[in-house]
């Protein structure tokens, strides 16, 4: 068992999806025309490819997220033993969270969490 299950499930997913796609490949006839393969944009021709440089402000959130995600990673083992370790665990995590919360507050003060 163990990680074999994961591989099995992965294979199952692949078989399932590939099977479905294969069935649709076999059983359907498509038609072709000049406009079919073009990108759909509300029914009018698009201006060039979509693969150009974007200007989206999401990356700042991704930055901050990354920091908190790492923090969360540390909290999982902590959470598991917190009850056993007792008060010490609380104190430790308080320090940990407090320091990070400072960062969070800083981000907030600086307006980094506001939408650009």
């Amino acid at each position: 068992m163990g990680s074999g299950t994961l591989i099995t499930l992965m294979l199952a997913a692949i078989v399932f999806s590939a099977g479905g796609i294969a069935v649709s490949k076999i059983l359907t006839k498509g038609s072709t025309n000049l406009q079919k393969g073009q990108a759909y944009e509300c029914g009018v021709p698009t201006a060039g490819s979509a693969w150009k440089q974007f200007n989206v402000g999401y990356y700042l959130f991704a930055l901050i997220f990354l920091i908190f995600e790492v923090e969360m990673v540390f909290m999982f083992p902590w959470a598991v033993v917190a009850k056993k370790v007792g008060m010490l665990a609380l104190v430790e995590i308080l320090v940990f969270v407090f320091i990070l919360f400072m960062g969070f507050l800083y981000a907030h003060k600086k307006g980094a969490l506001k939408w650009m």
Binding site: A62, L66, E71, F76, P77, W78, G103, F104
Partner: protein, 173 residues
């Protein structure tokens, strides 16, 4: 050779293959996707080593975080459709040679050295164990690094914000 070994070789091939694709493909978005697969392969390797926690951390931080961040920054700074310019042949050859040489040297070293196998005890990397050690202020505990990490993260956060906000100010100005 039992199942476990076969799996190891499969994982190794997978990691290396996707790794090579990651550094050699010329579409930058694809490069990031290959990198992602390679990282997932490493997570699989940790699974293979029965280090589930590490594997999950690898997936969560690398795949869920770093790669997404990289992809965002790609969108932000590149015309993702274009192919990246080819590196000069000379440089490629030089880099390939250097890498191969380095690899050969290290591989030779690894081959020469006989590691004293110490398989008397199974590594107990269960999450409880990790947690206990992490919160242990005494010897062999990792409390200090644990708290230091928070400082690191804090400084990283502040650093990012300072840098990023500099842009924002410029933009609004």
């Amino acid at each position: 050779m039992d199942f476990k070994d076969i799996f190891f070789y499969l994982i190794a091939i997978y990691i290396l293959g996707t790794g090579i694709m990651a550094v050699s493909t010329r579409k930058i978005f694809r490069a990031s996707i290959w990198l992602l697969f390679s990282l997932i392969g490493i997570a699989a390797f940790y699974f293979w080593l029965n280090l589930e926690f590490l594997a999950a951390v690898q997936v969560a931080v690398y795949v869920g975080g770093i790669v997404v961040l990289i992809i965002f920054s790609i969108f932000l700074t590149q015309k993702t459709g274009n192919q990246m310019a080819k590196t000069g042949t000379q440089q490629t050859i030089f880099a390939a040679l250097a890498s191969l040489l380095g690899f050969a040297l290290t591989a030779y070293l690894v081959y020469q050295h006989h590691f004293g196998s110490n398989q008397t005890q199974e590594l107990d990397a269960s999450i409880e164990n990790i947690g206990t050690q992490m919160l242990n202020p005494g010897d062999g505990g990792f409390l200090l690094p644990f708290e230091a990490v928070s400082m690191l993260l804090l400084s990283a956060l502040i650093g990012c914000i300072v840098i990023a906000m500099k842009i924002k100010k410029e933009e609004t100005a």
